[in-house]
């Protein structure tokens, strides 16, 4: 036993010796804990994951960007000004002559031409943001043209709402790269993709890529050639900390400045700590149940409506959400053009029973619901399971991992999908296209959520596309409002909540600007004191 004692003493002694603590992060570095294992590329031409977009947004600038405080306002970044032709199909951008890349090269219209054409030609996962404007590899040379160093002419296939086109260009796919530098590093006609993917960057933004160690960390260094106001922080360090509780401890201890992935429980437990504060931002993420109308029972409109009365929205919002969600029963997220405050459904078992009786469906009914094996999906599903059972609707929860969850919904062999939808750009069409348009109406023919769940949206589909083409913002807003009232009433989408974007930061972090979507945070404005 003496040996044991000595060993224990030695071990304890060692921990004490090495227990050097650093009370704060380096003053010149913003340290952010997040889950980074989804990032597969940082090339703006193909980036698509939340974490990747977040990092790329600090490196690459777009022609224009929406104002975070009022998304209907769009300001020029690399473009100084722009005009739209009478027919609404030709956008002419005047480049800002002061703009230059981190390499020192000036940002010209030729760089913009190269970058936007590149996205379409690479046909990557993010190309849809531009191809939905009627661009394709065949017509891109014609439709995107730099007429001189300062002028970019951008033509679209059909006259879409001006704001929609600008939002699409302000998305991550609209990031402009240094064409000279990128083409110097081209290998086998990849337009610099291999070079930009992981180890290098060629942007004009406030930061340049230092190192990206996949699934571990990303280090961004200040762009010393930045043409606008230099960011206060010399470095941004993203650290992979997947576990919420670990993020919380690191934040409270002062080893990180920002915790991006805290769960509701951890938010609640830091509430009393004066060293940290929370910021609420906007997140367009909508949680919903998709009901597959190919199912016999779910093909009955009254039964679908009954389902909408069988969820305890208020209860879930309070007990499970704890401030991270709010009830939202329409497809346009709050904060976007056309959003309305319209939540007609609440838990009403009796009403649901009446509706089921009038639908002619015999209870008990068994329905398979595919659920991602991660909170909050599992919690939502279990809560709904309990209330639905009271009206004779038995939910059989199939809890699966993320890949299978996506597979099942793609193959459409399910009754209910417990899902989410996050907009790619802050325009109502990003959601409207998914929930309210059938594929025969879309120019690129891609299948929408409506198609996935077998729903014929009827005249809602062409009306939604008409709203996309409406250039008068006030009229456009009205069109979306009307569409949503009807859509929430008759569609097989059981909308539940909009996510409240909540980020916990150290009290000394100031001027952090959270973006309009999940991955749009603007870290270059942040300071620490």
């Amino acid at each position: 036993m003496k040996l044991m004692r000595t060993l224990t003493a030695a071990l304890l002694g060692m921990t004490m010796l090495t227990g050097v603590t650093y009370a704060a992060t380096p003053a010149n570095t913003l340290v952010i804990a997040d889950a980074l294992d989804d990032i597969i590329t940082l090339d703006p031409g193909e980036v698509g994951e939340v974490g990747g977009i977040m990092a790329a947004k600090q490196i690459y600038q777009t022609l224009i960007a929406p104002d975070v405080k009022d998304p209907t306002k769009i300001y020029g970044v690399l473009a100084e000004s722009w005009t739209v032709s009478e027919d609404g199909k030709t956008f002419t951008f005047k480049m800002n002559p002061a703009a230059k890349f981190a390499s020192g090269n000036p940002v010209t219209a030729h760089d913009a031409e190269f970058s936007l054409r590149r996205v379409v030609k690479m046909a990557s996962r993010s190309a849809f943001l531009l191809t939905q404007l009627g661009l394709s590899a065949e017509n891109v040379e014609e439709r995107i043209k730099a007429t001189d160093d300062a002028t970019l002419v951008f033509e679209i296939g059909e006259p879409y709402a001006e704001s929609f086109v600008l939002y699409a260009l302000s998305s991550h796919s609209g990031g402009i790269v240094d064409s000279k530098l990128v083409m110097e590093n081209e290998v086998d006609g990849d337009m610099g993709n291999a070079w930009l993917k992981q180890a290098n960057s060629a942007g004009s933004g406030p930061y340049v890529l230092g190192t990206w160690t996949p699934k571990q960390s990303i280090m961004l260094n200040r762009n010393e050639n930045f043409w606008q106001e230099a960011p206060a922080m010399e470095r941004i360090f993203f650290q992979h900390v997947p576990e919420s509780a670990a993020q919380r401890l690191l934040l409270e201890k002062g080893d990180i400045d920002i915790a991006n992935k805290l769960g509701a429980d951890d938010h609640a437990s830091i509430a009393g700590n004066a060293d940290v504060k929370t910021l609420d931002g906007s997140s367009g993420v909508i949680y919903y149940f998709g009901l597959n109308v190919r199912n016999e029972a779910l093909s009955k409109p009254d039964f679908v409506k009954a389902m909408k009365y069988l969820v305890d929205y208020e209860g879930i919002e309070q007990t499970i959400g704890q401030g991270t969600i709010k009830t939202h029963q329409t497809f346009v997220p709050e904060g976007f053009l056309g959003a309305i405050d319209h939540n007609p459904y609440s838990l009403d078992i009796e009403k649901a029973k009446e509706l089921i009786a009038s639908s002619g469906v015999q209870t008990p009914v068994k329905l398979d619901a595919v659920v991602w094996n991660t909170p909050p999906y599992t919690d939502f599903a279990q809560a709904a399971q309990a209330t639905m059972a009271q009206a004779g609707v038995e939910l059989n929860l199939l809890v699966v991992d993320g890949q299978q969850w996506l597979e099942r919904y793609r193959s459409a062999d399910l009754d209910i999908w417990v899902g989410l939808w996050g907009p790619d750009y802050p325009d109502p069409h990003s959601n409207a296209k998914a929930f309210a348009v059938n594929s025969e109406d879309t120019p690129d023919g891609s299948s929408s959520l409506a198609d996935r769940f077998g729903w014929d949206a009827g005249d809602i589909s062409p009306r939604t596309m008409a709203a996309l083409r409406e250039n008068d913002n006030e009229k456009r807003r009205q069109m979306y409002e009307e569409i949503q009232l009807e859509h929430t009433d008759i569609s097989p989408f059981l909308y539940m909540f909009q996510e409240v974007r909540r980020v916990a930061v150290r009290a000394n972090v100031e001027n952090l600007e959270l973006g309009l979507t999940l991955s749009d945070d603007r870290y270059w404005k942040a300071t620490k004191n």
């Binding site: 044991m4 380096p26 990557s124 996962r125 993010s126 992979h240 670990a246 991992d401 890949q403 597979e407």
Partner: protein, 348 residues
């Protein structure tokens, strides 16, 4: 009758036998993981191009991955490449899988090796003591400690450990391998931060790495101590009731000699296999510990690749883990021969 083979020839034959068995087992492993990778309901193309990609984007990747070819052809080309050390490219890290393995495995190797050393150093004496004082208080105490280590979920212990030793007491550093100050300071040689910082003489980095690794190592050490002490106890109990122990005592051997010199020596033979296999288990990486501590180890690498449908990475990782198990098994066979005279005799 044939002439008696020389001992050298026998040894050579044994090595050759071992190599052939190893090669066949590895091939079987590759085949198994490859075909499992093909039947699981994950579309590797969709994992890469994503939900919103156009059909052209889908087709491009489909052909790039060679998925249009028959499965046996895919398998042959995969195996041939593997023989040249080419595990393919991981799409989630955009690097060759071999580079990934070389970068993630050392982090697990550090944890597992130190954890196992701790487990052996504490677990075996504890098991011996437990058996010696069978059913007395030291036995009860050791068994209770072991039971806790064995039955409490390790991620929970990890979080409690972090809360107490990192957050409250500040004895150790938090999740991650290094503080932000030290990231990127040491140029990698072996990709093991402990070893590299020592080789480069970066003492500050070394001590920082130690303060980060010590808590997860203690947890893994505790976990393997719990297991090893239980195994040692039962093996020792078996030995201590044997007649030769009584004989030794009657002959006047000291207690220390009886317990350590005789009983433990015999118990050590099966213990070697147990230790080797539990080392293998640790080298697989503990996904839970790695997640709680944000540790960039092989367990996390394989798990997150699996969730993303990154088949090349999963195959590469599985191959590595399988190879380690086979290697450790062979190693414990060799140790067996050294420890147990009977196996030496039998081989002659």
């Amino acid at each position: 009758m044939a002439a008696i083979a020389s001992p050298n020839l026998v040894r050579l034959k044994r090595i050759a036998n071992g190599l052939v068995t190893t090669a066949i087992t590895l091939l079987g492993l590759v085949a198994l993981t490859f075909f499992i990778g093909r039947v699981i309901p994950i579309d590797p193309v969709l994992s890469i191009v994503g939900e919103k990609a156009t059909p052209e984007a889908y087709d491009k990747v489909f052909y790039e991955l060679g998925l249009d070819k028959p499965v046996w052809e895919q398998f042959t080309s995969y195996t041939l490449k593997l023989l040249q050390g080419d595990f393919g490219t991981s799409f989630t890290t955009t690097r060759p899988v071999l580079t990934d393995l070389l970068s993630f495995f050392p982090a697990t190797l550090e944890l597992a090796t130190l954890g196992l050393v701790l487990g052996v150093v504490l677990g075996i004496p504890a098991g011996v003591a437990s058996a010696y004082w069978h059913d007395k208080w030291p036995d009860h105490l050791i068994r209770i400690i072991g039971l806790i280590g064995y039955s409490v979920p390790i991620f929970w212990l990890g979080l409690v450990g972090l809360y107490v030793f990192y957050y409250k007491l500040s004895w150790v550093a938090g999740p991650g391998q290094l503080d932000v100050f030290y990231v990127g300071v040491v140029k990698p040689i072996t990709n093991s931060i402990l070893i590299d910082s020592l080789l480069r003489g970066e003492w500050e980095v070394f001590w920082n790495a130690v303060s980060h690794i010590i808590l997860p190592v203690c947890l893994i050490g505790y976990f393997s101590m719990a297991y090893l002490s239980r195994m040692t106890r039962s093996l020792m109990l078996d030995q201590l009731t044997q007649e030769y122990v009584l004989t030794a005592r009657l002959k006047g051997a000291s207690e220390l000699e009886v317990v350590l010199g005789h009983a433990l020596r015999n118990a050590a033979i099966p213990l070697v296999t147990i230790i080797a296999l539990s080392y293998g288990g640790l080298l697989e990486g503990s996904v839970l510990i790695e997640t709680v501590f944000g540790w960039p180890g092989i367990g996390n690498y394989i798990a997150s690749s699996l969730f993303r449908g990154d088949i090349n990475a999963v195959l590469g990782g599985t191959f590595l883990v399988g190879a380690i198990f086979i290697l450790l098994n062979q190693l414990s066979d060799v140790l067996y021969a050294t420890l147990d005279p009977r196996t030496r005799e039998a081989s002659k």
